[in-house]
C-alpha cells in the first residue's frame, strides 16, 4: 500500500483535478483583489474609495467582488489544505489556476469595472492611457501563463492515466 502511494505513475481522481484548478483560481482572484486594495488603495492612494462617476451597477459589482474575494481567499486556502490531506495536490495545475484567476479578475476590473462601470480610475490627474494599457496587458499575460500551466499539467496527468497501474 505504501509503495502504491508513492508511485508517481498514478492519476488524480477527476474531482481533485477540478479542485486543484478551482482552488488556484479562487486564490488568484482573492490575491489580486488584495493587492489592489493594499497597494493601489492603501499604500499608493492612486485608487479612490469612491468616485462620483460610479454607476449604480458599478457600486453593486464592486460590493459583490469585494465580499467574494475575501471568501475566495479563505475558501481556496482550505481547499488547498484539503487537497494536501488527500494527497492530491498538483502544484503546476494549482499554480495555473492562480494565474488564470488573477488575470481574469484583473481584466474584469480593468475593462468592465474601471472603464464601463467607472467605479474609479487607476490614477488621477495623469494621462491614463499607459496605465490602462499596462494594467490590461499584464492581465492578459497572467491569463496566458495560467493556460500554459494548466495545459502542461493536463497533458502530463492524462499521459500518466493512460499507463497501466502496476
Amino acid at each position: 500500500m505504501a509503495a502504491k502511494m508513492n508511485n508517481s505513475n498514478q492519476f488524480i481522481p477527476s474531482v481533485c483535478f477540478a479542485r486543484n484548478i478551482w482552488s488556484g483560481i479562487l486564490l488568484g482572484i482573492g490575491f489580486i483583489a488584495f493587492v489592489d486594495e493594499a497597494v493601489f488603495h492603501q499604500i499608493l492612494h492612486w485608487h479612490h474609495f469612491y468616485d462620483k462617476s460610479t454607476t449604480d451597477i458599478g457600486l453593486v459589482s464592486d460590493g459583490i467582488f469585494h465580499a467574494f474575494s475575501w471568501f475566495a481567499t479563505i475558501g481556496s486556502l482550505f481547499m488547498f489544505a484539503d487537497l494536501r490531506r488527500r494527497n492530491a495536490l498538483h502544484l503546476v495545475l494549482w499554480g495555473g489556476g492562480v494565474f488564470l484567476g488573477a488575470g481574469a479578475f484583473q481584466l474584469y476590473d480593468g475593462i468592465v469595472q474601471h472603464k464601463m462601470m467607472r467605479i474609479h480610475q487607476i490614477r488621477y490627474n495623469v494621462n491614463i492611457l499607459p496605465y490602462d494599457l499596462i494594467w490590461n496587458i499584464a492581465a492578459a499575460v497572467m491569463i496566458f501563463i495560467g493556460m500554459i500551466f494548466i495545459f502542461q499539467a493536463k497533458q502530463r496527468v492524462t499521459k500518466n492515466r493512460e499507463k497501466p497501474i502496476k
Partner: protein, 264 residues
Amino acid sequence: MNHHHILHNIDAFIQFCWALSFGLLWLLYLFAAMSARIRHKKWPFFRIVFWTLGMISAVLAITGPLAKQAHLDFKAHMIVHLLLGMLAPLFMVLAAPMTLLFRTLNVKTARKLSVVLRSKYVRIVSHPIAASFLNIGGLWVLYTTDLYAEMHANIFLHLFVHIHVFLAGYVFTASFLSIDPTPHRFGFIFRAIVFVLAAAGHSILSKYIYAHPPSGVSEEQAQLGGMLMYYGGDAVDIVMIIILCYQWYKASWPRSLSVLPKIH
C-alpha cells in the same frame, strides 16, 4: 428644561436596564456552566470567555461615554453598531448558549424548548435569506430613510432600533455558523453564496453612505463612518468566513484517506 431633565432620566434608566439585563444573562450563563459541569462534563472555558466578551461588547455599545458620543458623532454611532450588531452577536454565538441551556434544563422543559425552536416562526426568521434581509435590509432602511434622524429625536425609537440591530445580528450570525443545534442546517455552498451576497449588501451600503450622508449627518462624518463600516465589517466577516470554511473542511474529511492515490 424640566422636559429635558425627564428625558435625560429616562435615558439613564434605559441604559441601567440594558446593563442589568446583560449582567443577568452573564450570571445565568455562569450558573448554567457550573451546573452542566456537575451533571455532565466540564463546559469549555473558552466558551465562557466568548460569552463574557459578548456581554462586554453589548454593554459598552449602549452605556457609558461611547453611547453619549454616538448621539453627536456618526463615527461613534458606527462603532456602536459594529459592537452591537456584529461583534457581540459573534462572541455570543461562539459561546453556544442554546447547547448549554439544553444541558442544564430537565428533559420536560428541554422538550418544550425544542418545540419552540422548531416552530414555524423560528424556522422562517432563522433562514439565512430571511436573517440577511432582517439584518442588512434593516440597515438599508435605517440609513437611507429619515429613520436615522427620527431615531435621535425619539428615545424609544432609538431603543427599538438598537434592540433590532442586536437581535438581527445574532440571528444572522447564528443562521450561518450554526454552532448551536438548529432544526435545519443548510448546505455549505448555499450558505456561502447567501453570505457573500449579504456581505456585499453591507459593503455597498457603506459606500452609499460615504456618497450620500444620512439625514442630519455632515459629509465628512458620513465619509469617516462609511469607511469604518466598510473595513470594520470586513474584519468581522473574515472571522465568520474562516469558521464557515473550517466547518466545511471538517465535514468533508475523506473517510478512506488511504484509498486515494498520490498524483504526479
